[in-house]
Symmetry: C2
Subunit: 395 residues, 2 copies
């Protein structure tokens, strides 16, 4: 009754739902305070007070028909100009409001880009480890995901493998910086090398290869590490952003696409993005959220709580003997499974009421992901459970 592709996806989704249900059952049995749920990337830091204040100000001060009505499908012009100006101030770029499309979160933005670019059979490259939804987004429009295996030495982009994978059907790459699930930030050096490879590939194939830069974690960086701004390194890039993590608004579905004037086919692309957003049924990013963003665009992100969690969790687990990638960004800790099949390790963790996500779902088997956007208190309480788990393997 439903489509064949959807049947498979529903079957796949029920694995995640099973994990969620298992957690609920565990909580019912042993008490919610004794379940250590590291599975979800849902911010634990509340939105800044200025966000709610801005919402109320918009409702009180701006005209109702304007606030709740249709606008250009790409978004309110003043909001788009505010976003462009903020980017230009922060990164020395030269975006204009015309190059900004307000979107229903980053996920809405990525789907809009892929609908614009892909003919059935076109290939899109993902670098493992990657956010599992990318392959679904690509397949929505008949695209073919091509997965580049992880460079598990550095967790930077595996550029040698990329060079071999690019061909005539390659339309785009998706790069997630900082990376979910690894917590790694791709360096300026990596991006320079990426640009060199793409330039050669574009000459070889005779068409642009777009880097779709998925940046919902852009503001979440630690230890003073800077996230290199994509358009300063990559010519044909399309930047997807979301305020879900930086302002703790994942339910509000507000983000944007930013396209530098210098990309090949700029005008064609902008027109395509606007039409694609409309015909996919987004029509426009929620209007009230757009008006709020205009007032909150330079609100700083509160990374302190996540940083405290990060340091404590990383230090504690490595001390116990677990091998972890030190996270530089986002709010995920990537840990090597002490068993080759990480699903066995995840099952072992559940015995201690620890919920982790096996990284096979991120194209990187042998690892697990821990989301530390949880309370510091829960992390502390989970330590005896991790110690017991460590003893199973190292003790």
């Amino acid at each position: 009754m439903i489509s064949k592709s959807m049947e498979e996806l529903v079957a796949g989704s029920s694995v995640i739902r099973a994990l969620f249900e298992e957690g609920k059952q565990m909580a019912a049995k042993v008490g919610a305070e004794n379940v250590y749920d590291y599975s979800l990337g849902n911010p634990s830091v509340p939105a800044p007070a200025s966000v709610n204040a801005a919402f109320c100000q918009v409702l009180a001060e701006e005209d109702s028909l304007f606030v709740h009505g249709y606008m250009n499908n790409a978004g309110y012009e003043d909001v788009r100009e505010t976003v462009a100006a903020s980017l230009n101030r922060r990164f020395g770029t030269d975006f204009t409001g015309d190059g900004i499309v307000m979107t229903v979160g980053a996920a809405g933005g990525l789907n809009t880009v892929l609908r614009t670019l892909l003919d059935p059979g076109d290939e899109v490259i993902c670098f493992a480890p990657f956010f599992g939804e990318y392959t679904n987004y690509i397949k929505n429009f008949g695209g073919v995901p091509v997965v580049i295996p992880a460079d598990t030495r550095t967790f930077q982009l595996n550029l040698d493998a990329l060079d071999k994978a690019v061909n005539q059907r390659t339309k785009a790459l998706i790069v997630n910086n900082p990376n979910n699930p690894s917590g790694v930030i791709y360096s300026a050096d990596t991006l320079k090398k990426l640009q060199a490879i793409l330039e050669a590939a574009e000459k070889r194939t005779g068409h642009p290869i777009y880097v779709i830069s998925d940046e919902p974690y852009r503001e979440l960086a630690y230890d003073g590490v800077q996230v290199p701004f994509m358009s300063l390194y990559i010519k044909n890039c399309i930047i997807g952003y979301s305020f879900s993590k930086s302002l703790s608004l994942p339910g509000e579905r507000i983000g944007y696409l930013a396209v530098p004037k210098a990309v090949d086919g700029y005008r064609e692309l902008m027109d395509g993005l606007t039409v694609a957003g409309r015909i996919l049924g987004f029509v426009n990013a929620p209007s009230l959220q757009q008006r709020m963003i205009k007032r909150c665009i330079d609100e700083p992100t509160d990374v302190e709580a996540y940083d405290k969690n990060r340091r404590f969790l990383y230090d504690s687990l490595t001390e116990m003997g677990f091998e972890c990638i030190r996270p530089q960004g986002a709010f995920y800790l990537f840990m090597k499974s002490p068993t080759a099949d990480e699903k066995i390790f995840v099952a072992e963790g559940k015995k201690h009421h620890i919920l982790m996500v096996p990284a096979s779902s991120f194209g990187c088997p042998g690892y697990v992901r821990l989301a530390y956007c949880v309370s510091y208190d829960m992390i502390q309480r989970s330590m005896p459970a991790f110690k017991a788990l460590a003893e199973t393997y190292f003790g």
Copy 2:
């Protein structure tokens, strides 16, 4: 650089943009008050005061992490139950919260349904005249739109033609009640006959044929006419609703899908819709809008202004000699073009600064659409222009 299908769509869209630009140029030349723009379906009645009050109450009274955070992809459970209970109270139905999916407007909901149902090559039937975006929504996922020509005698569903068009590849029909652009309401009698045809077709083909009922104009009915509630007549129906028109919130992107428990493959369908909404990048309907809807679900729609416009416009134009369908619902007047090619008539209208949409874009050449969700004042001011236009043809 962009996909072939998108190239065509961008080319098509620029026709509408051209109309918009023409209007702007006209306004610059003759003054905005002398341009009579009947082209856009953007509500002119502001949202009820209770909507803004509810937004502020949600922000003041509910927990910030809850209001702005992720919830079940199908929406907050209490909001879904509120929607189901409201439908049941009003229509004597038996929806449960489980059968409701909160969506990014009706357009988001329709795309979610089509992504769930369609394998490439599957056919979806549209009844002319129809909202032009339907064919784009269907093609997003490789579906094939099949257009049933209008029954220009009654503008009810052309059921004889439908019966011949249904075949093994028919997955669904889209029915828009009240209809944009005709303003007609499909009667209970029409829906009963439709169900009989579908029942026979389902037996013949061996699979369910879903009626996707697009109902953004459900609350906009005049002259005491009742809009028959789809699930009381059609077994395999999926109802798509939006608060865009009923509460004048088109920019806010909030609506829902309602699926009766009795539809074939109910569980499979609900699971598919939830996954489809997620992977298309909607993820969930904007959270703040969902919380607001819980408080405003029974807010009545203010149809008085539209009704006044409708009666004045219909009476005046018919008196001048134009042939119009008397609108029973929505906020559109459908007018027969005095010339066989309605584009010539539309061009003639522009000479008098009247902007109308040629109904070729709704699959119904020979007619034009006038959106009367404008100010009463503008309608009055436009009368001499219409009179002059009438004289060209009848005088």
